[in-house]
Symmetry: C2
Subunit: 204 residues, 2 copies
DNA sequence: TGTACATCAGTGAACGCGCGTTCACTGATGTAC
DNA sequence: TGTACATCAGTGAACGCGCGTTCACTGATGTAC
């Protein structure tokens, strides 16, 4: 658990430790999946530094955690954008976002949990960063609805999408269900059932 | 936080404390929503008793928590059954279960979270108790599918229902979303979109 | 009916641990003269 | 070019706290005789 002692930064490069501490906190978020389980001492130890060194860069434990969570939100949003930007077609873009969402949640369940199931109040940044990701979803949904000639409220439909996809990754990610369908299958169902899949043939 | 000291049980009635400790643990589950936040000392204190008294009734901290969680599962299952038993019609029964599920999750978010998002491994009982509730859902879904002449696999459709409803209550329960739709509206959508609502008129 | 006593339902002090935070400090290094 | 010194990037000891668990104990109460 405890890392080897970190080499002291050269003069003028003290800010490097700040970065290393945030990295260490991110690692622990991924491992523990809960902010309460991430002590200041464990972060310092992971970074190879004494607990007191933290106070040279952060006001206290909470401020360090807050900034680590902010970083995690940025990473999540960037991941989503990447999944979207790979496509031009509105259906593929929405599906790209969905795949990216699921990939993040499944490959980093600890971080996903900290982002979406955190119990500790860290202030406003959580709401704001989450809102940015949600607005992206609204835009993607709106494009698909437009293409399908569907006049439902994109914001309402986006809520349907988000609740369902969150339920899928939270239940599949938190516990193993040996006999459950593939996540990809569930995503297909989600798109089809909510009416966001590409219409391949004419309806009746 | 600390309760007044409990009156000592009469001779031969020592088992009463066991019950009181489980009640205290349930209260703390409801308040904290996380098992790690529930210390043995806090349970004893809530029950108005010294920490050491716990050891007269439970092997250790973990055994006490385990039994408290088992109780909570029973309570949840009983609540669901109640919601189902109030109706005869398969659509109403399924909807009754859904309403009961949501009512439990919204009125006892801490307990719901302990049941469905717990990170601590307590052994097998979680899987088993959860499985019982899931089998109930499968039966309810099967009845509706039969009535609708829908030949989809009830188990598969039940997964769709469970993932979505969990996402709804987890996102709505964990954080407040000022501008979100009503939960009842989301449940209506769930039933309609997954194809489990009562067919009120003929389709094309 | 009276009393000695075993049992029951707990208590209280103590242990070693990790926690967040504080304080005074250390030792290397770049810079001013 | 040499050196005194301010600054930087940390360290280490200590604090009071709550934790799970152990141990020896206490005092009321029912029961056997």
């Amino acid at each position: 658990m405890t890392q080897a002692r970190r080499a002291r930064s050269r003069r003028g490069e003290g800010e490097q430790l700040r970065d290393d501490l945030l990295d260490a906190a991110a690692e622990l978020m991924a491992e523990k999946g809960e902010l309460d389980a991430i002590s200041l001492r464990s972060i310092a130890s992971r970074a190879g530094v004494s607990p007191t060194a933290v106070y040279r860069h952060f006001d206290d434990h909470l401020h360090l955690l807050r900034e680590a969570v902010e970083r995690c939100w940025s990473q999540f949003a960037a991941h989503l954008l990447e999944g979207v930007a790979a496509h031009d077609d509105p259906y593929d873009r929405l599906r790209g976002a969905g795949d990216a969402y699921v990939r993040f949640a499944m490959s980093e369940p600890g971080k996903y949990r900290v982002l979406f199931s955190n119990r500790i109040d860290l202030g406003m940044q959580r709401v704001m960063a989450g809102a940015v990701a949600f607005e992206l979803l609204v835009d993607l949904v709106a494009a698909v609805l437009r293409d399908r000639g569907d006049d439902r409220d994109p914001r309402f439909v986006a809520v349907l999408v988000h609740t369902w996809i969150h339920g899928i990754v939270d239940l599949c990610g938190n516990h193993e269900h040996a006999d459950w369908p593939e996540v990809a299958t569930l995503l297909d169902q989600l798109a089809e059932r909510i009416g966001l899949n590409r219409p391949v043939e004419d309806r009746c």
